[in-house]
């Protein structure tokens, strides 16, 4: 019997709730997670600027603080003191609300990420605080993955309402693009997450991490790489990061949805964008790379939670660097190509892969011949893919004959 729905897994909350230390520990965890995320975002902005400067033969920020580390702080302080302008034709309430709508989901997603904790032996990813065992994550709801998906969907409201409430052309265009893009890629994102949930047999982020105790059982391998690749592409689109940054395509839309924003409100959009990058990388690490789990059964001496944190940060770095690398390398997609990729490639592919994984699961559970099932399933999928491509080709020929094709 689990006492609280939103605290199912955490052993801390199965004890009787007292002000001290139970509530205190929860509060401490909230504050620490908040601070860690903010510092991580400050660092990420600096990291991105520095790395991309390196890739473009520039120097990057180097004046504020050692190696320019405090540049983000300086920019933030500057934003605070800048004039906070609201366009005359803006919907004032929504205009002020939108930055929070994009900042808060970015924070909330981070609460379900397991940041560390030792998985050696029977400790099950817990640490000991004031004599109480607890997870190194703010909350472990049994529907953690759904929360992640819900928050990434809500984040689009911030972008969309910002563009709409500005009372200006370019932000509106940016907002329309944003919502269309998010809707298109949310499906592929969700379907690849479902594959992970299938394999892990849980929606709780802690449980998903707990089953990935070595490289072979990382979901990256267990789901067969394809959902991982789809997730990375869809996540990049979801984050509106290059090459999917059509939402704020400078050459076409000035600044996209945040064209009319200035000062601290703009800073909040900027912050939430980078926060989303950090959070999304953390989600990738959690879902596919085992979060704080080491790649093999290796639990050296020293505090286990520190090693967990080390593995988590090391994996996080890979993806942060990847996003910067994408930005430095890839040119922006054309809009129809973006839609083609989302609807005609990623969604069918992720759906087909989900069916394949499901079939293999059933085959294992029912004791069918696995190899034969795999071959038959793959053949059926290939046939479906052929039919699908045929349909696409016919449709595009019809459009061309009607003169409506591009």
């Amino acid at each position: 019997m689990r006492p609280l729905l939103l605290a199912a897994g955490d052993p801390l909350l199965e004890e009787p709730v007292t002000l001290f230390p139970i509530v205190a520990i929860v509060l401490v965890k909230v504050v620490v997670a908040f601070a860690v995320l903010l510092v991580a975002v400050l660092f990420m902005v600096w990291f991105e600027r520095k790395v991309i400067a390196g890739m473009q033969n520039r120097v990057g920020p180097n004046v504020a603080g050692p190696w320019g580390l405090l540049q983000t702080l300086a920019d933030g302080i500057k934003s605070f003191f800048k004039e906070d302008s609201i366009p005359e034709r803006a919907d004032r309430f929504v205009f002020k609300l939108a930055p929070y709508l994009s900042l808060v989901p970015a924070f909330l997603t981070f609460t379900v990420i397991p940041l560390g904790g030792s998985f050696a032996g029977t400790s099950d990813g817990t640490i000991s605080l004031f004599g109480h065992r607890t997870f190194l994550q703010v909350a472990d709801p049994p529907i953690g993955v759904l929360l992640v998906l819900a928050m990434s969907s809500i984040a689009v409201y911030g972008v969309m309402l910002a563009g709409w409430s500005s009372g200006s052309k370019y932000p509106l265009l940016g907002a329309v693009r944003a919502s269309a893009q998010m809707v298109s890629y949310e499906a592929a994102l969700g379907l690849s997450v479902v594959t992970v949930v299938f394999v892990s047999r849980s929606l709780s982020t802690h449980d998903i991490v707990a089953v990935q105790d070595r490289l072979a059982s990382w979901n990256l391998v267990a789901t067969g790489f394809v959902p991982f690749l789809i997730f990375i592409v869809a996540a990049t689109a979801e984050l509106n990061r290059p090459p999917f940054d059509l939402v704020e395509a400078e050459q076409e839309l000035v600044g996209g949805f945040h064209t009319e924003y200035a000062g601290i409100r703009f800073a909040m959009f900027y912050l939430s964008e980078f926060m989303n990058t950090v959070t999304m990388s953390a989600i990738i690490v959690t879902l596919f790379l085992g979060g704080p789990q080491p790649p093999f059964h290796w639990h050296p001496a020293g505090p286990g939670w520190l090693w967990g944190l080390f593995w988590f940060v090391a994996k996080l770095f890979v993806f942060l660097y990847m996003y910067v690398w994408f930005r430095a390398t890839l040119p922006r997609f054309r809009y129809d190509h973006l839609m083609d990729l989302g609807w005609k490639v990623l969604i069918p592919l992720s759906f087909g892969w989900l069916l394949l994984i499901a079939t293999l699961r059933i085959a294992r559970d029912q004791g069918w011949n696995q190899a034969l099932t795999a071959v038959v399933a793959a053949a059926i999928l290939a046939a479906c893919w052929g039919l699908f491509s045929l349909a696409l080709r016919v449709a595009s020929r019809h459009r061309r004959l009607e003169g409506t094709a591009f």
């Binding site: 390196g54 890739m55 033969n57 520039r58 120097v59 690398w325 390398t329 890839l330």
Partner: protein
Amino acid sequence: MGWWQGFLVTARQSRVFGGQRVTTEYSAGKYAGDAKIAKPERLHGRHVLNRYEDGMEKCIGCELCAGVCPARCIYVRGADNPPDEPVSPGERYGYVYEINFLRCIHCDLCVEACPTEAITESKLFEFSFTNREDAIYTKAELVVDDEGRPRQLPWEDWRPGDDANTSGWMRATAPAGSAEFEGRVAWSGELGYGVRAPEPGQGQPGQDQPAGTGPDETGAG
């Protein structure tokens, strides 16, 4: 080139893999304190009005500089020299001479137009004012002092060498750039400096080649 090779191109720019930085840091690097990098020899900065070695002003108030100025930032009014106390060696002198540095684009056309090399440019470009009056330099601020040095105003950031080479070098060659004139001094002396030496690297007197045979003549025209 496959699509993935683009990733290698960007990754290779890292300093770890021998990528070069092309940035020249204006402040000579973070740890150089207040130091600035050396300025180019031909930098166009704040103007000065020169004087002859005997202290006479070179400006004759002909207004050619004002006429040629594309930004219309120069205002000159000439006046007849007082006979008993002449300001310039000619008939007339620059009675009013003003440059509005809010408008000046430092194109140096005034320097090229000037028939007496009266106006040249120093290498000072770091000056900022807090009101319009400061931005409009009058003759009192533009004319060099009794040692031939530009007057240093409180809002200007003079560094050693900024006043060493005003653009007198321009007259080191003929206006057409003919090699015949290379290395020949073709400008008058200045207060405090005397006759400036020809620009370095332009050959020595007596070693001039006839026009049209120099190695630089062919392509450069």
